[in-house]
Amino acid sequence: MKAPAFAYARASSVDNAIELLSQHGERAKVLSGGQSLMPAMNLRLLAPELLVDIGALDELRGITRQNGVLSIGALARHVDLQNSPLITTHAPLLKEAIAHVAHPAIRNRGTIGGSLAHADPASELPACVIALDATIVVRGPAGERRIAAEDFFVGIYETVLSAEELLVAVEVPLPPSNATHYFCEFARRHGDYAIVGLAAQAVVDHGKFAELRPVFFGVGDKAVQVKVPALLGADVTPKALSEALQTLAEALDPPEDQQASGAMRRHLSKVLLARCVAKLLSRPDLATLEPA
């Protein structure tokens, strides 16, 4: 199908975009890379009256390192993240995740800002920015707001962004030198949305987790960060892992759909966490632990 009729405005600056959004409120939608918005409009799931195209705003492009953070402009495309030496060095989790996002032609257009604002509960980037403890920077008529990634997502396709606000950047704190990460997802075919996925950022010190932030996606109406105190600061025994997996299973209430049952998603989440712990601690014995 094709999109219904709408009006189009090419924003000339961030202020101009905010002005347009303030005037039109819920009737307007921001057009960034369009790789989620256009399918939704072509399928007539969405019918905004006005598209505010921010594609020409160079001020929203670019990936820079400043004041201890990696600042990623909202218009940084998936392919830009994939090819950025700064991302490779300071946020390799993102680089690894991008390889699972759709296909090359989509990654040439899709942007990080668009993906986060779209807030698909099965998509990779929301989980990654929560795992990375990133800050989402948004601007609106009242000025700038800085929101912790874990507070940004509200539900299916829903964030704390108001209709007048624009997501302008994502700031990722520079990780310590002993930081490490894990990314894995189960999908029917490579590039499909995940049935279940896990993005985790960690700090490993002498074979122990000083920090571990596992974030699951595809398991609920938004990405779910799971606390795993049982795995921190001490040698991870099979018993401790087993307890953590139990806690995980209780924390998740995954939905059932045509791809998988809730029970299957819960099981796969446990498999992913066990593999994550085994990989990050270089303890292959823990990966074979049969999740109950």
């Binding site: 199908m1 094709k2 999109a3 219904p4 009729a5 709408f6 009006a7 189009y8 090419r10 057009l31 369009g34 790789q35 256009m38 399918p39 072509n42 399928l43 009256e49 006005l50 598209l51 195209d53 594609g55 392919v79 759709a102 296909h103 090359p104 032609a105 989509i106 040439n108 257009r109 075919r189 490579h190 590039g191």
Partner: protein, 165 residues
């Protein structure tokens, strides 16, 4: 409000000026306005890949881009790639290996394959499959397509070698 917008772009090396309604996507603009019907429209929501074209040298889904968004850009379609001879060897390899049957996916398959061949001189079969994973073919089962791309990569490599001083 929903009035036509003026756009100016380059299509296959030629300057094009037009007025388009915001809702017209690039695929329909190419097909309906410019009669470049080699760009095919399959699913119209970014899944099948049949509408793949190049914008500023990069492959994109033309069903997920509005014509108003390509203002100032350079667009290349299968007609351009084919007429310039850029992919004549790849096209020949597709024909030789029976890498097409109905042909619906073929123009986009060629554009995606050429995108990989430009970046990597000797891609492995897995890399070829990964790069073409966003292009559906319902006839061939992909095996012959991967063969054709692989054969073209090899032929180009040995050609480049023999040309080297």
């Amino acid at each position: 409000m929903t009035t036509p917008h003026p756009i100016s772009l380059e299509v296959n090396g030629e300057r094009v000026e037009a007025h388009v309604l915001p809702r017209i996507n690039l695929a329909d603009f190419l097909r309906e306005h410019l009669k470049l019907t080699g760009t095919h429209v399959g699913c119209e929501h970014g899944v099948c890949g049949a509408c793949t074209v190049r914008v500023n040298g990069e492959i994109v889904r033309s069903c997920l881009m509005l014509a108003v968004q390509v203002n100032g850009a350079s667009v290349e379609t299968i007609e351009g790639l084919s007429d310039s001879g850029e992919i004549s060897d790849l096209q020949a390899a597709f024909r030789e290996r029976n890498a097409l049957q109905c042909g619906y996916c073929t123009p986009a398959m060629l554009i995606s394959a050429q995108d990989l061949l430009k970046a990597k001189s000797e891609p492995g079969r897995e890399q070829i499959r990964e790069h073409l994973s966003g292009n559906y073919c319902r006839c061939t089962g992909y095996q012959a397509i991967v063969d054709a791309v692989e054969a073209t990569a090899r032929a180009r490599k040995s050609r480049d070698k023999s040309r080297a001083p």
